[in-house]
């Protein structure tokens, strides 16, 4: 059946037949690329453009040049957010050694270990909204488990989320919970692939414990470490859900980060300043661009090595 059809269409099909290897990739790419351009790539440029305007989202947009950025320069809340972003970035990286540590702890073959691994990974699968709620209650000054524990040691209760000094760290700890689980699973998979012969050779040479970990295991875990770094840094800069759920930026804006502040400025009840929000987003984007560029660069090196 198919053969007779091709025979009939031979005349019209020959051009297609000759060029199909050149055309096929574009036809396969078209739907995905178009979707991506319209929803992801163009909006980036639109945001850059929008950051030069003053716009409430409804009326006429007014061109103001770099005024939004100038205002940003004098904005106290912007610096608070930037500082918190930095704290997030630094503390969030703690998920990597913590994940490695748990992975080493669980990398055994005892009965039921598979279930243990899954249960340790559990926090990552839960939505950040629920993680946020869970930790809000955990920190609650009247009944939270944290203060119950502190109480048994005779320590006074702490209102973690109500205190400007503790609030960001409190939220980050909530974020570290799922992120550590993620890093743990990366390292568990990585440990599976570690070359047993090298370990044995190391043992014969008398390498043990930390020295073994540092000189023989960690170099082999490099791919896992690389991914752990990328996802943790991106995760730290993307933090929004937890802040929105746990404190809504408070108290007195002390727990804002750029991503949250941008949302607050552009879409919350406090205002519809789309242009100013876009300017904040541009700053965040430029910070992220450094990491994206690094990731692409190392990918490019890998591609060339093939």
């Amino acid at each position: 059946m198919a053969r007779t059809l091709t025979a009939v269409n031979a005349g019209t099909e020959s051009w297609w037949h000759k060029n199909q290897q050149k055309l096929a990739p574009w036809l396969f790419l078209a739907p995905g690329v178009l979707f991506f351009l319209f929803y992801v790539i163009f909006p980036i440029f639109q945001s850059f453009n929008l950051s030069l305007y003053e716009w409430d989202g409804l009326g006429e947009a007014r061109y103001v040049g770099l005024y939004n950025y100038e205002e940003l320069y004098w904005d106290e809340a912007f610096y608070t957010s930037l500082k918190n972003n930095l704290i997030w970035l630094v503390l969030y990286l703690g998920a990597i050694p913590a994940g490695l540590f748990i992975a080493l702890f669980l990398n055994q073959t005892v009965t039921g270990i598979r279930l243990y691994k899954s249960l340790f990974f559990f926090p990552f699968v839960i939505s950040q909204v629920v993680v946020g709620l869970v930790f809000t209650w955990f920190y609650d000054p009247t009944f939270g488990l944290l203060n119950v524990v502190l109480g048994t040691f005779g320590l006074p209760p702490i209102n973690v989320l109500g205190d400007e000094n503790y609030v960001t760290v409190g939220i980050i700890i909530a974020g570290l919970w799922p992120q550590t689980a993620y890093c743990m699973i990366l390292y568990l998979t990585g440990l599976n692939a570690v070359d047993p012969e090298q370990i044995e050779a190391g043992r014969l040479d008398g390498a043990k414990g930390w020295r073994m970990l540092w000189h023989i295991i960690l170099p082999q875990l490099r791919p896992a470490t690389f991914i752990a770094f990328v996802v943790t840094i991106i995760g730290a800069l993307r933090s929004f859900d937890l802040i929105s759920i746990m404190t809504n930026g408070g108290p007195f804006g002390a727990s804002r980060v750029l991503s949250f502040y941008m949302f607050e400025v552009a879409l919350s009840e406090y205002g519809f300043r789309m242009g100013y929000g876009a300017a904040i987003a541009v700053v965040l984007f430029l910070i992220m661009l450094v990491i994206i560029a690094y990731f692409l660069w190392s990918m490019f090196q890998e591609e060339r090595a093939r």
Binding site: Q20, P25, G32, F36, Q108, A278, F295
Partner: protein
Amino acid sequence: MFPTPIERTPRSWQITYQSLLPVVLILWLLPLIGVAIFSIKPAADFTTANYWGWPSSFEGFANYALVFTGSDMPRYLLNSVLITVPTVIGAVALSCMTGFALGIYKFRSNIWIFFMFVAGNFVPFQILMVPVRELTLNLGLYNTIPGLVLFHIAFQTGFCTLFMRNFIRALPFELIEAARVEGVAEWRIFWFIVLPLMKPAIAALSVLIFTFIWNDYFWAVVLTQGVESQPVTAGITSFNAQYRAAYHLMSAGSIVAALPPVLMFFLMQRHFIAGLTLGAVK
């Protein structure tokens, strides 16, 4: 294996390790265990400040039943399903094609298109927020499920393409060359040769995207407003407003909202982990 396998260690450490495991696990999951306990307590326990004591009565069934009958929770759950499932299908379908194109064909702009997908995937959401919201408004899709689905498909295509392309690169290329020598049409190569080999990748991505989208909160807040279109992550906040200070119900609601991806994970664990490691860690 590192660290030293437990069978080769002294008996005393073996016993310590075995007993340490459950203790560490309980500590690790403590915040969650707290919520689970809350969710089976009666309301009276909270008024009498019996927060962490033994529940005065088991009200698990009543609490969970009330979540489903006394609120919009079923609707939010349905919305989440209606958002998540089409997104998974759409993003996986699109990325099978883009991954095939970028993984199999050699043309000059190949790497740049690939990098566009990868870079776009890491962009902060906030830089897309205002334009995407405008686009959705202009399409008349603001506060609708399709509006949210279209964006999710587009954005997830970035990550999925990264994954699919790397997966296809690892397939034996001779297979495709042999088919070309036989004169098999390109789309037939895609459909009959490559696609069947991509099943593990499709499974891994589906589970992963399901979890990502189910747990999305930011875009749900930006692109939807009401009970008719909001997914459960956004709905839980209205639920909590409705049952303010009724901790037993809020806990039960949270557990219900968190459960579907958890089930997905336990059912498809192997695929899930393959997806998470981006295929880079074997």
